[in-house]
Amino acid sequence: MGKYILRRLGATIVVLFFATLITFILIRLAPGNPALMMLADSATPEEIAAMEAYLGLDKPVIVQYLIYIAGIFKGDFGTSIMYQRPCIDIILSRLPATALLTFAGCTVGLLVAIPLGVLAGVKQGSMVDLSAMTFALLGQSMATVWLAVLLVLIFSVHLGWLPALGYGTFKHLILPAITIGFPLASQTTRLARSGMVDVLKEDYITSTYAKGISRRQVYTKYAFKNAMLPVITIVGLQIAGYLGGAVVTEQVFSWPGLGALMVSAIGNRDYPLVQSTLLVVAVMVSLVNLIVDIINCLVDRRMTLN
């Protein structure tokens, strides 16, 4: 168990190392002088020279990379051009909004998807199953943009029940949460369904019935736990993705999260902020994946053997 976690931690560190490499290379791939890209257009020649020295542009690329890494370890992700403040401060100030949205969206999605998926799997081939699958396909076919706009059109413009954009109250949370939750729900429904269908065919389920256990208990406990294993993995990945910023959703609803930050940083050519946001997102996604693997391993102890 401990060994397994250590090994996964090792793999995570390797992945993060590559992620720093990518974010480092990205800025240097851009045409033109990286120092210019890191600075506002109005920068003076002195500022440019200072930035060149800071980036070590006269030094070999390897040294430049080491300087970049050393900065990261000291918590120095660079300074945002737009805000004239350390990037990491800005990113951290945006995190709570993204986290809240992710949490709300996943809660909405899972509350719908898991019962629906389990029911569809249990009643394979029935009308319930067909409707659940249609619901799932519909969810996967809704472009985020379209779903968001449609929700606004119905609930804000026509019914006037909920605000079309903004942040702060529970009412503001509902539409963005549904926008995130619906696609998540559709994928989870399918996974829960196919997990259930597969598990119900297993020998150990027949043997559970042979012990006189009721269907309800099998569906909610003895097959449920097995069926949820693939769901945990994929939902984990999804949560990680949303934590990285639901770019479109945040943009549509003016939600002050990481995704919106990324878009505005790009719009303002704030490259240090783009670079550091990307890296922070990579770190978060990797950590969530690590946590998901550990949870999976706690639920299914066989994982540690592989």
Binding site: D203, Y204, T208
Partner: protein, 323 residues
């Protein structure tokens, strides 16, 4: 009149899949009396497991179709019982040991939880008491009780089968169905498991339906034996009678197929041909294409079960004609 514990009457079961229909059971008649231990023997695919699962009304739906016949438990049809009644019987009055201990235990629950669930369902025990009881059961089958909180993958195949046995004995059932409990195990482990079952049988005095293709096991554990071929019982009687005077050519073949050390023989007898294809069963007696004594009528009509004596029945024309 008191009913037998289990009466299977002319049971016909088919499995329908997209590609084909498998005729798994084609009119099985069988009786298990209280306290009796019956061996059900036959090659793979003869319908032994299907028979066992029918008794518990656990055939996999929607593929399995009961085309006719019935299974009576103490005189009541299991197919017409309420779900509730069935649940009360399963695991409490009739319990089952499965063939493959590697797949018949749920990998994400501890063995303790899996034994305790039977006790909690049928004996209304609380969580703590159920675990204590489960621990005792583990000890009976020769596993230290501290292993209750281990997961199945932490046990060897033989140990897992012991866990399966412990769970099936939890409520001291009237009938224990053992579906090839040793087939998936090493030979040395097989002997241990059989020894254990023999001890437990003496101790608990439950009826036993022992499904196997190993005749040795039957002669060790059972009083009666039923030989199955292509979804039918073709010979039935006491173990002594049937093994000594096998009447059906197939049974003779089966007995001949066991290498014997005490008889000097330079070749192993084998039954020619393969087991009947369940998708395309032959006409008449299902065994006739492989039978050395095949007559014209064998190809046309299925022979009925005939009494040889009180302890021996066979479904074969040879015996009718006194061949």
């Amino acid at each position: 009149m008191e009913h037998a514990l289990i009466e299977i009457k002319d049971l016909k079961v088919e499995f329908k899949t997209e590609r084909a229909t498998a005729y798994a059971l084609n009119g099985v008649n069988l009786e298990i009396k209280k306290g009796e231990s019956l061996g059900l023997v036959g090659e793979a695919g003869a319908g032994k497991t299907t028979t066992a699962l029918s008794i518990l009304n656990l055939l996999a739906k929607p593929a399995a179709h009961i085309m006719g016949g019935d299974v009576l438990y103490k005189g009541t049809s299991v197919f017409s019982m309420s779900e509730k009644k069935l649940r009360d019987i399963r695991g409490k009055e009739i319990s089952m040991i499965f063939q493959n201990p590697l797949t018949s235990l749920n990998p994400v629950f501890t063995v303790g939880e899996q034994i305790a669930m039977v006790l909690r369902t049928h004996k209304n025990l609380g969580k703590k008491e159920a675990f204590q009881e489960a621990g005792k059961l583990l000890e009976t089958v020769g596993i230290a009780s501290y292993r209750l909180s281990d997961y199945p993958h932490q046990f060897s195949g033989g140990m897992r089968q012991r866990v399966g046995i412990a769970a099936s004995l939890a409520c001291n059932p009237e009938l224990l169905i053992a579906d090839e409990p040793t087939t998936a195990l090493d030979v040395t482990i097989q002997a241990q498991i059989l020894e254990l079952m023999k001890d437990l049988q003496d101790k608990y005095s439950t009826s036993l339906l022992m499904i196997t293709h190993n005749l040795g096991i039957i002669s060790e554990l059972c009083q009666k034996v039923a030989v199955m071929y292509a979804g039918r019982i073709i010979e039935y009687g006491t173990v002594k009678e049937v093994f000594k005077y096998p009447a059906h050519p197939y049974t003779k073949g089966l007995l001949g197929a066991i290498p014997r050390l005490d008889v000097d023989s330079d070749h192993l007898e084998v039954i020619p041909g393969n087991i009947a294809n369940v998708h395309h069963l032959p006409s008449g007696c299902k065994f006739h294409p492989r039978c050395a004594f095949c007559k014209k009528e064998c190809e046309q009509e299925e022979p009925a079960m005939n009494r040889i004596n009180d302890n021996h029945y066979v479904a074969c024309y040879i015996n009718e004609g006194g061949l």
